[in-house]
Symmetry: C2
Subunit: 395 residues, 2 copies
Amino acid sequence: MNDKASIASLGTLSSTSRAVIRELLTSGPLPRATLARRLGLSPARLTKVTRPLLDSAVIYEDATAPNKTPGRPGTPLAVHAPRYAFAGFKITGDTLYGTRVDAEGRVQRAKSVSLESTDSSHVVDLIIDLVKELGEEQPLQAIGIGSAGTMRRYDDRVRRNQYLGWDDVPLAEILTAKTGLPTVISGDIRALTVGVQWSGPGQGHSDFAVVTIGVGIGLGMVIDDQVHAGTHGTAGMIGHTRVSEAGPLCELGHRGCASAYLNADSILAAISVPHGITDLDLDGACRLADRGDPVAQRVLSDAGRALGVLIAQVVNVLGLDTVILAGDGLVILEHLSQELNSALRDHLDPWGTVPHLETFHSDFDEWARGAAVLSCQWLLVDPPKLLAPSITHQQ
Amino acid sequence: MNDKASIASLGTLSSTSRAVIRELLTSGPLPRATLARRLGLSPARLTKVTRPLLDSAVIYEDATAPNKTPGRPGTPLAVHAPRYAFAGFKITGDTLYGTRVDAEGRVQRAKSVSLESTDSSHVVDLIIDLVKELGEEQPLQAIGIGSAGTMRRYDDRVRRNQYLGWDDVPLAEILTAKTGLPTVISGDIRALTVGVQWSGPGQGHSDFAVVTIGVGIGLGMVIDDQVHAGTHGTAGMIGHTRVSEAGPLCELGHRGCASAYLNADSILAAISVPHGITDLDLDGACRLADRGDPVAQRVLSDAGRALGVLIAQVVNVLGLDTVILAGDGLVILEHLSQELNSALRDHLDPWGTVPHLETFHSDFDEWARGAAVLSCQWLLVDPPKLLAPSITHQQ
DNA sequence: CCTTTTTATTGACATAGGAAATTATCTACG
DNA sequence: CGTAGATAATTTCCTATGTCAATAAAAAGG
């Protein structure tokens, strides 16, 4: 009949429609019957909910997959993911990484620019330029930003960012005013975790943790399908957990804390100082260890032990069976897996279960991608009140 | 008109009605307007939802509280809590503790019996007898059971209980068959945590942890208003967290683990062995420390340090601002608060916030009370499908 | 007494959802 | 090849849940 225009924003759909899309995005194409069972709806309702989504080309009927069970085969529904684009940014102390992804989290474009200053108005200008550039070919649904700090899961401002020197910058309001796009802010590790959850190795897991190593140590966690940030956004601060009473000092003067063993700078200093060398990087450290250098070997095995202890503690508290390792420091992982595993087993509670460890090799763009996926999740889970519902059901 | 009979089971109410009752039970009497705002409903809906609840005397209109703001004062609604009774049990290795509580978690009766054997059929018989006795004066809404083990939040069976030697006992099914009452099983620490959450010091907090010391170390956590149990019910297993690389051995042969410092038996052995005494209890240990006994003082301060490290780790992972200390080992707390606080501050992440520590003095009945509150929460949050809805709305 | 302010109720109406019957489309099997 | 059995999807009809706008109610302060 009346050919409705396509849906402007996924955030204006009804909660049931959004639940359908969420399920399709996180689980892949599914027939109506399966969807109905998963969402606890009747088949009748599902037909009624999906019809307007089909009419407006938010979703489509997938080619019928071959079927070996008796009975009429279901026609899988799938989201027209490429029709919906999201912009995601990661702000580090010196660089702004930006990506455009589709609803399934596939990166369509990526671009990074150096920060000339950490002044918030400068960074805002850079973000706006990048938003315009990324949105040239296709309108954007939302903007997601990840940076260090103590933001809540879906926050509207940057809180306590030590690298940028920002405290309480209402970035979402500013960007929404200047771009007209709904914007959400989150801690970078939380954004990465959402990327892992919806379109990474966390898919299909209701509970897991992401542990990142690199400049610092990060912990993101998904509990009951939700990213957990803590009351004040301070969850996952495990970088200064004491691993040993002896051991090296971290930059805060803690002896034997995790960052003193695991931060890239700590590892490099621990190797290069005794050897009197400079210009070492993690790859170089690994090569040294491969060649039998005792200092490098010891430093890396100590790092492995520290990581094992950390993971064990997280698993003991949360009772997880999946932990995903990520971060740019991951190159050292194969040199420390032995110590890691033995420390993990040694510190796990005997009544707990040994978690499945997965590695997720990722660069900085992956953090920006996570922020984009975060904005998509935000629209589909907890959309801001902006516009009137775009489609209604008729019986 | 037709004077409907009073509601048989709270579990048969609609989800909105249950949300209203939940809010009233956890926040106390509230006027309709406030209730509507908190639950995200329109005032009109609230009037319509609460009318049948008033008609059937599930709730009542409280005496109007004095009011100083302009405008018509609201009439607070309150739950007829004493009309609804729940039975809660805690099963230890040698005793069964039973309580009957009302919907607000107030204990109406309590009784405990010793187990003659840990045989499940024997324990089942004891529970059934106690259920009958507790339900004499008033019909029971549900049964809640707490025991050690790796049960999920609202489970139907006892899994891996080391003290009873049970593994996979379908206790809920058995008890429902024999008593006709909906039954829910949970880990004892989780049951205690629910008691703390709904009618204890956790009221009003969306996120907090309960740490218990006594025979063992327990950790219960509430995240986003929900008790967290982990995928396999193994969350909160922090008893064997390594606190130090030196230190005493625990019963599993871990050197310097938390139980080696904090379990009642460990503390008592550490003091009585050097002194060559027997028959020491925790009160005695405290008296020794008060009198200046260096062994007792050292053992207790070590315990305080261990507890501080444990709490810091939990807070670092979860980002909590409230931690509640409980358990029968709490008597030693004032002797170790100094070491506890310094270890806590020393091990907390500098970007985290120092949590508010509260103590909750409780006996074993409190654990049974928690199980009863758990069954109430279960009915109101996630009721089993048993009966047809008992009241309907008419426009 | 009247205005302001907030709470509570009412009735008209829209939407979300389910149950049961019906139709559609596949496999298995004689 | 045709039919029985199984499962998927739709249709029809009904109910439950919710909003909106208008109105009444109950206080405080002139």
